[in-house]
Amino acid sequence: MRFAEAWRVALDALRANRMRSALTMLGVIIGVASVVVLVAIGTGAKREVERQVEGLGSNLLVVVPGKIDIGAAPAVSRLSLADVDAVTRVVGDPARVAVTVASGETVRAGRRADFTTVQGVLETTPSVFTRQLGRGSYLTASDVDTSRRVAVLGASVAGALFPDRDPIGQQVSIAGVRFRVIGVFAPLGQSLGVDRDDEVHIPVTAAHRLYGTQRIDGIAVKAPDRERIDALGDRIVAELTRRHPDTEFSAVTQQQILGVLGDILGVLTGVLAAIAGISLLVGGVGVSNIMLVSVRERTREIGLRKAVGARPRDIGLQFLLEAVLLTSLGGLLGMALGVGAALAADALSPVPAAITWWSLALAFGVSAAVGIVFGVVPAQRAGRLDPVVALRAE
């Protein structure tokens, strides 16, 4: 039998059982669509994180106590402002060093309240990280030196506390202590469902007094250029290790952060794709099942075809193509559905999604392969049917 003829016969068989074909395809459609959507979301999340880490500013070095690794427990910080001074001496330029000591606090203004992250920082933060002020001004060196109770609000905190007033010059209370608002950040927007404007900056010295601690959670250094970034990191870690011999320190660059996050998100995407793959597998089992039913139903047709000269191979090919056609059509529809759902998710929700060609090619290839794998057994069974027995079937 000619190949084109076999395709036509397979297509006719699918058409004759429209409802059953559609329901069988549904399993494959859902499987392929979920692979496409989940891979798109995984890829979108990865790109979003990359964009943000790069958006922090270039040549950034973050120094934290403990090891930076997947699964490492966060270490209790023993860094202090004295250590920051030591790091500043290593760097040689105070403007390149930023610090943070962060705590979740309720910030109140009048009857309004907002729970947010309050960060104790140095006046260098906007220059080390790329942060822009929307209104007012940022903290000054003198604010830090004198522990002045002044605050710079993130855009959403400002919106929550002062929906109808200019926050500049207003009083807020943080953990019961009054601060004066001197500035508001330009909004950064949301990423991965996290509000990046939900924070308040106060002088680190004021934060220490407020929290009753001397600790520094982390130090960020902007290296003068990319070439010297690793050496600088080594020197900072060496200095801190000298000061705290029993504590381990890590200096990580954006590239390293990107690498770690990329690994995490890669694993996540892989797991999601695997889960979706299982649904595709289940769809394949459905195809196999329906093909076996189809072979049984059409036993007399198989017998007749054999009687008039169909070889086992001709019959097998007919049923195999039917299965492949079923899953390939399901794959195409699933791809369309998946792309549509991913684009809709990207446009209408905070979930980022990016369609990659390889994921489409993979999904289609897998669905066609599923048809072959799960069509082979029913096809072989059909091909091997004894024509005498087949012709007698009810």
């Binding site: 039998m1 000619r2 003829e5 006719d12 004759a16 007399r300 047709e301 017998g303 007749l304 075809r305 054999k306 009687a307 008039v308 000269g309 169909a310 070889r311 086992p312 191979r313 001709d314 004894d386 024509p387 005498v388 012709l391």
Partner: protein, 255 residues
């Protein structure tokens, strides 16, 4: 039209052919040593009660099944030495089947049903349709090419099946109770058609039936009982065979 066989070579030759089925480990003999020759252009009827082995014999003569003993040669080829694909090709080239239940593909037009055997020859669609349409014209259904089986009467459906059996230009036409599902008028017409085709094209006609009246029209009659041939009007029967023939009426030619 003898399928290209040299003169004098039988279309089908069975020598001491037996067929035993294994059912749950028990051997059930359906045929117990049948020797039979079908010559090109023959018109023979195989008759016998149900369970006599006549259907098994027809399956063997048509190459749908293989004997478990003896030698079976179809179109000059020993069935025992052929692989399933080779046997399929042999069926396609030398045998035409007509079944009691017609066995037409229900969702397929008459002309495509007739063309089906040509599909397995790798013939192109247009040529198939031409030959199938010509064959349908020959059986008097030239005006029903694109009708589906459910749009045709039983007699017409069996004519489509006959056209399908003959479109490949076979050596032997095997008809298993071809009138069994038809009323008398349509049954007579179908028989007349088969006989006409046998006379005109020279295709050997093997009619399997339990109907003595139908069998009576054949030039040669083979009576079967319990898996053996009890009489063959082409061969002189022994006294025992003649006595065992029982239900089979003697016809002219039996001595």
């Amino acid at each position: 039209m003898t399928g290209g066989l040299p003169a004098g070579v039988p279309a089908i030759e069975a020598v001491d052919v037996s067929r035993t089925y294994q059912l749950d480990g028990v051997s059930v003999p359906a045929l117990r040593g049948v020797t039979l020759t079908v010559d090109p252009g023959d018109y023979l009827a195989v008759i016998g009660p149900s369970g006599s082995g006549k259907s098994t014999l027809m399956h063997l003569l048509g190459g749908l099944d293989r004997p478990t003993g003896g030698r079976l040669v179809i179109g000059g080829r020993d069935v025992g030495s052929l692989t399933p694909p080779e046997l399929a090709t042999l069926r396609n080239r030398t045998i035409g089947f007509v079944f009691q239940a017609f066995h037409l593909l229900s969702r397929t037009s008459a002309v495509d049903n007739v063309a089906l055997p040509l599909v397995y020859r790798g013939m192109g669609a247009r040529q198939r349709r031409e030959r199938a349409a010509a064959m349908l014209g020959r059986v008097g259904l030239g005006h029903r090419l694109d009708h589906r089986p459910n749009q045709l009467s039983g007699g017409e459906q069996q004519r489509v099946a006959i056209a399908r059996a003959l479109v490949t230009d076979p050596t032997v036409l095997l008809a298993d109770e071809p009138t069994g599902n038809l009323d008398t008028v349509n049954g007579q017409a179908v028989l007349a058609l088969l006989e006409e085709l046998n006379t005109e094209s020279g295709v050997a006609l093997v009619l399997v039936t339990h109907d003595n009246e139908v069998a009576g029209r054949a030039r040669r009659r083979i009576a079967m009982r319990d898996g053996v041939v009890v009489s063959d009007s082409a061969a002189p029967p022994g006294p025992a065979e003649a006595a065992a023939a029982g239900g089979a009426e003697p016809v002219g030619g039996v001595r």
